[in-house]
């Protein structure tokens, strides 16, 4: 599998290591070279410095042929932009965006982007630790609940509360 990751923070670096050591072809992009210090010195993938929200940078780094694309920067909106670039302009079949604001995560799931909301995951884990039942709607990556409204598609319905 070819995996493409934007953002070499703790999550991005950790995922890159796991996938690359399991034998997958991994490319990770970050705007600052220092971020790559989070990777092991013998990281068996490609680490490239560049702006992961820039279509040209993504193309040059080979994102077009990726099987799966992870948008894992620290900015929700940056992740939303780069995820939509990957899905719409680069035709990557599976795209996940980390969106820490639960409202925005839900809204973009309805717009056809698979989302991962750290806030909801942490809340659920701590609630379970405290003896509450797990919230069944918080199951790791939330798959899209609607279609992406690009091109001529009808705008998808978005949950009423935003």
């Amino acid at each position: 599998m070819r995996a493409f990751i934007v953002g070499c923070g703790r999550v991005g670096a950790g995922l890159a290591e796991r996938l690359a050591r399991a034998g997958h072809d991994v490319t990770i992009v970050d705007i600052t070279a220092e971020s790559f210090g989070r990777l092991e010195p013998d990281f068996p993938g490609r680490a490239l410095r560049g702006d992961g929200t820039d279509e040209d940078v993504l193309r040059r780094a080979g994102a077009e042929g990726a099987d799966v694309f992870f948008a894992l920067t620290e900015g929700d909106n940056r992740n939303i932009l780069t995820a939509q670039l990957a899905a719409e302009s680069l035709s990557v079949p599976r795209v996940v965006a980390k969106i820490n604001d639960p409202v925005r995560a839900e809204a973009y799931a309805a717009l056809g982007i698979a989302t991962l909301c750290r806030t909801l995951l942490l809340v659920d884990a701590l609630a379970v630790y405290s003896g509450l039942p797990s919230d069944p709607s918080v199951g790791g990556v939330s798959l899209p609940t609607g279609h992406h409204p690009g091109g001529d598609h009808e705008p998808a319905a978005v949950p009423a509360e935003a």
């Binding site: 929200t53 820039d54 279509e55 040209d56 900015g75 929700d76 909106n77 940056r78 939303i80 932009l81 939509q84 670039l85 719409e88 302009s89 604001d101 409202v103 925005r104 809204a107 309805a110 717009l111 409204p149 690009g150 091109g151 705008p155 998808a156 978005v158 935003a162």
Partner: protein, 226 residues
């Protein structure tokens, strides 16, 4: 008309002032507290210190009844999110995004943003339009850099307008090759008459370039020499 502006930088600030002066009703969302206060001191209570990327803040600003939402922050990703939330959650009829990276324009349109303002593209267009009128365009170098292929655009008022190739005293090291007139390529014959709007392709020795410029385009501006 009720307009919501997101982003109180230079663009948002002047946009707010112009629209108010034109009598429109509007709300400006600016997330930075100091900047929001600064603008509010000048234009009044229409400024909300809020992040316009969040749906609940757009709701508070009245997005349900807005005719236009204009996202003019300095960050493309924020402008995209504002417009998408406005469009898909509040069904705002017209969304406008400022786009700084010209490569994002097509994506934003594809994702349903109604209007794109691209300062980069506008400056680029102005520059590209300007250069060929006043300059020789260097298309290629030949023979290790001693010869150049150049394009000269004949403008209204150029000394070459109305003249034939034989009327123009080109130096020995220069040769005009073809004219591009409209979209047609025409070979240069002795009875060809140069017209304003023609693009003339020439091969020139580098040391003859100034004279070529003088004959076809006019006296080079100081900075155009060398």
């Amino acid at each position: 008309m009720f307009v919501i502006i997101v982003g109180g930088g230079k663009v948002g600030y002047y946009l707010t002032k112009e629209l108010l002066a034109a009598g429109h009703e509007l709300v400006l969302l600016e997330k930075d507290g100091r900047r929001a206060q600064q603008i509010a001191d000048e234009v009044g209570s229409i400024v909300l210190q809020r992040d316009g990327c969040e749906g609940k803040h757009l709701a508070e600003a009245g997005a349900n009844r807005a005719a236009i939402v204009a996202a003019v922050t300095g960050d493309d990703e924020d402008n995209l999110v504002v417009c998408q939330v406005a469009k898909h959650h509040f069904a705002v009829p017209r969304t406008i995004a400022r786009v700084n990276n010209p490569r994002n324009e097509a994506l934003f349109r594809h994702l349903g943003v109604d209007e794109i303002i691209s300062p980069t593209r506008m400056a680029l267009a102005a520059i590209e339009q300007d250069i060929p009128v006043h300059e020789l365009l260097h298309l290629a170098q030949l023979e290790g850099g001693n010869l150049e292929v150049l394009e000269a655009q004949i403008a209204e008022g150029s000394p070459a307008v109305g003249r034939r190739p034989g009327d123009i005293s080109l130096p020995d090291g220069c040769s005009v090759i073809v004219i591009i007139r409209g979209e047609q390529v025409q070979t240069i014959r002795p009875d060809t008459i140069f017209q304003a709007g023609d693009k003339v392709l020439a091969i020139s020795r580098t040391d003859c370039e100034v004279q070529l410029h003088r004959e076809l385009i006019g006296e080079p501006a100081a900075e155009a020499v060398g």
